[in-house]
């Protein structure tokens, strides 16, 4: 019988994946006014994986706890995760952080907050998205494992927990896949291929309303979240220039020559 898992799943509220982000007129923040926010897709996969571990073996998982750091609105991300099947949640409300300033909550600060929270919670497994699709840092998981001094397996595409408590994680690497095995405690970060998250059922949304969310502050956890980076400028990606039609092979060749392609 493997040790019972107490899983912490850190989640983040980000601009919806299907929405095209725009830089504001002052070129200093990504426009967030009236923009739809959702649970970060990689976090969604992490929650799904935790719930699946429980579904695959009822006795294996003792608890699934979500934790999110940010503004009070991060509650939305927690609610989505609770409706997917997590048991409880914690919201680390960071003063001075709102939607437009989400990028100033940096990976190292988040990793420190998570470390303090995980230490307190007595968890033995962290499953989290490999990156948030807003800053695309792909750092928090690794930093957290380093701070906790736990084993880490990033970019997971398959997770197995053996009888003796060894966790094997298959991860996609250039040219194939690699399987890592380690004893708990451990940090796993999720890649896209790990699973397809479920749709959230109505009864689960209703049940989620009754689940508990603890509120904490960085001060409670003894972490300083002052940004260490300065955003110098923000710019939209260059606009794609439309193509043109040519009516003969000759004109195609001359066009190609014109742009120096041949």
């Amino acid at each position: 019988m493997p040790p019972r898992l107490n899983i912490v799943v850190p989640v983040k509220r980000v601009i919806d994946y299907a929405i095209k982000p725009r830089v504001n007129a002052a070129k200093n923040i990504v426009e967030t006014n009236g923009v739809k926010f959702s649970l970060n897709p990689f976090c969604e996969i992490a929650v799904e994986e935790a719930v699946r571990l429980r579904e695959s073996n009822k006795d294996l998982v003792e608890s699934i706890t979500l934790v999110s750091a940010g503004s009070a609105k991060a509650q939305d991300a927690l609610r989505s995760g609770l409706a997917m099947g997590a048991d409880k949640a914690a919201l680390i409300e960071c003063p001075g952080i709102d939607d437009s300033k989400l990028l100033s909550l940096e990976p190292l600060a988040v990793a420190k907050l998570l470390k303090a929270y995980v230490d307190k919670s007595g968890a033995n497994l962290v499953i989290m998205g490999k990156q948030a699709i807003d800053d695309d840092a792909n750092q928090t998981g690794q930093m957290l494992a380093g701070l906790l001094n736990w084993s880490q397996a990033t970019n997971a595409s398959k997770v197995d927990v053996a009888e003796d408590g060894t966790v094997s994680v298959t991860r996609e690497v250039d040219g194939g896949s690699e399987t890592l095995a380690a004893k708990l405690p451990m940090v796993i970060t999720t890649d896209l291929r790990l699973n397809v998250p479920r749709y959230t059922k109505l009864q689960d949304i209703m049940k989620a309303k009754k689940k508990k969310t603890d509120k904490l502050s960085p001060a409670d956890l003894g972490v300083d979240i002052t940004p260490r980076l300065e955003t110098v400028s923000l710019a939209d990606p260059p606009k794609r220039v439309g193509g043109a039609k040519v009516d003969s092979v000759d004109s195609l060749i001359s066009k190609l020559k014109e742009v120096g392609a041949i």
Partner: protein, 550 residues
């Protein structure tokens, strides 16, 4: 068809492009093509796009027999002139060479309809770029009594946009400019050949929405939508084109240009002639331009999808939706179990509900205040759960899920068409009897000795789905191949069934060629006589889209 496909490709390239650039994180993830979340998005896009294309590839190898051969009772009208080299020379004098198609391969896409049921024998396709060019073409055709078929995206479902014999096809594909848009009033004036989806994307950039949306949006033209009075998914919220179209510019059979491009909401000055063109299906004139009143695009859209046990409960859910969602309700679509089984056969997407249900409903709300809408939807859904009207349900948590859920409704025609052929009935029936029609249809086929859905049977599935909010049912009989014997079992039985309940034999697809003999089941003889008189006045030689319903 070549042009149509090219247009679709252009649209799809753009859409994929925007998805790929939206979030670099997902694009740079390894093995994106099949990576889980990435795959969800791509599969959804692919399915949506193929819906727009209306199953062009699935049956592409199958030869479509000429309509004239399939329907020997229809004979070519001897009054019409025959196309001569001199006619073509004349057209060459007014149009550039690229706007004149005569090659067999080029023509087939314009001769064959999107259902691949009808195949005309036109020898000439003209693609004018301006209203003036259309006028010159029609003047010549009028003088020479050459019959014509105006054609938009050729996505029609009743064979109305393709020729039967040698009618000249006038394709509006090259008239695709947005003429003007007023940001204050929301009135857009477009060329008839503007593609619906492209126009809607243009409006989206300005915060507006086209009041019409339908599965073929990636290919269909607005002129064609107006000519066929298309209904679609937004009718429940924004009403029919008879209300939102403010003006029509058309070229008559003798080349006269009718300038009715009004931009007024209120205009009580005599007969509202433009209404005649809406739903005329090309039998009165060629629509070349349209002005449309567009509503503001809703900032907040929610979608829920749920499973129900009986049609009775579907109706209860609808009544509750009207009272509890009220002004934010923007779609109420229902689907039966069979239709979802068919979509699941071809979809790579996860089904929204794990267990099977007899009926499914998709509810969409559109509003301007997220908290307000969320709360309304939440209360509505909780009420449904508590009163046990629904068995199970899900709510889209993000835009990707929202789009994916829609594919379970929009993907039905596409997945049915993949089986071979589809007998489509698009009917309006009083709500309480709506689904009875599907059950009766199954019973009738079985009674006549047909098996449904077995390995050996030609009939793959009999499904019902549609815009419940509008009392509009789509009864589809999917077959491996079209069979006259099956057609005879279904028709005119279907139409008689509808007539008994004072329904309409065509709620939104129109009549075209397919429903030509059945008009009498929905319209009284005195009405048909009036329609004929109108036709006689505007098109005395009958050259506009002949052999169709009138």
């Amino acid at each position: 068809m070549r042009t149509t496909l090219r247009a679709v490709r252009a649209v799809s390239a753009r859409r994929v492009g925007s998805l790929a650039t939206a979030k670099p994180a997902l694009r740079t993830a390894p093995f994106l093509a099949s990576a889980a979340a990435g795959f969800r998005v791509e599969a959804a896009t692919a399915l949506l796009q193929s819906c727009g294309r209306r199953n062009y590839s699935a049956a592409v190898t199958k030869v479509v027999r000429p309509t004239a051969e399939m329907y020997p009772e229809i004979v070519r009208d001897a009054r019409f002139g025959e196309l001569t080299a001199a006619d073509v020379e004349y057209f060459k004098s007014i149009l550039p060479e690229s706007a004149i198609l005569q090659d067999d391969q080029d023509l087939s896409g314009y001769n064959i309809d999107s259902m691949r049921k009808y195949n005309g024998q036109s020898r000439l396709v003209l693609k004018p770029r301006t209203t003036e060019e259309v006028s010159k073409i029609m003047k010549h055709c009028g003088e020479r009594k050459l019959a014509v078929v105006p054609q938009g995206g050729n996505t029609g479902l009743v064979g109305g946009s393709v020729p039967v014999f040698d009618e000249i096809v006038i394709s509006l594909a090259n008239m695709n400019k947005i003429r003007s848009f007023d940001e204050v009033s929301g009135i857009i004036v477009v060329d008839a050949g503007c593609i619906l989806e492209a126009t809607d994307s243009f409006l989206a950039e300005h915060g507006y929405i086209f009041p019409l949306d339908l599965g073929a949006k990636g290919s269909c033209h607005i002129g064609g939508n107006v000519a066929t009075n298309a209904g679609g998914l937004r009718l429940l919220r924004y009403g029919s084109l008879h209300g939102s179209v403010l003006g029509v510019e058309a070229v008559m059979a003798d080349g006269t240009v009718v300038n009715g491009l009004g931009k007024l909401r209120k205009d009580n000055t005599g007969y509202d002639i433009k209404q005649l063109f809406i739903g005329s299906e090309g039998t009165l004139g060629v629509i070349t331009g349209v002005s449309v009143l567009c509503p503001k695009r809703s900032k907040v859209v929610n979608v829920a999808f749920f499973g129900l046990d009986s049609y009775e409960k579907v109706q209860q859910a609808f009544v509750k939706a009207k009272s509890e969602l009220g002004e934010v309700l923007s779609a109420f679509e229902f689907m039966d179990r069979e239709s979802q089984i068919q979509v699941a056969r071809f979809s790579e997407l996860r089904r929204p509900l794990d267990e099977q249900h007899n009926f499914y409903v998709l509810v969409e709300t559109s509003g301007s205040n997220r908290e307000h809408d969320d709360e309304k939807l939440q209360n509505y859904l909780e009420g449904l759960m508590e009163s046990e009207i629904i068995d199970d349900g899900v709510v889209a948590q993000d835009e990707t899920q929202l789009k994916n859920i829609w594919t379970w409704r929009e993907g039905i025609p596409e997945s049915l068409a993949r089986t071979g052929g589809v007998y489509k009935y698009d009917v309006s029936i009083p709500l309480e009897d709506l689904y009875l029609m599907v059950e009766d249809c199954r019973a009738r086929l079985i009674e006549k000795g047909y098996e449904i859905g077995t390995e050996a049977s030609n009939i793959v599935s009999v499904v019902g789905y549609g815009h419940l909010g509008d009392g509009n049912l789509h009864l589809n009989v999917a077959v491996k191949s079209y069979d006259k014997a099956i057609e005879k079992v279904l028709e005119p039985w279907v139409y008689e069934w509808i007539q008994k309940r004072q329904g309409s034999i065509s709620a939104e697809h129109g009549l075209g060629f397919a429903k030509r003999p059945f008009l009498k089941y929905s319209k009284d003889q005195s009405m048909i006589n009036l329609m004929k008189q109108v036709k006689e006045i505007y098109d005395p030689n009958g050259i506009m889209n002949p052999y169709k319903y009138i």
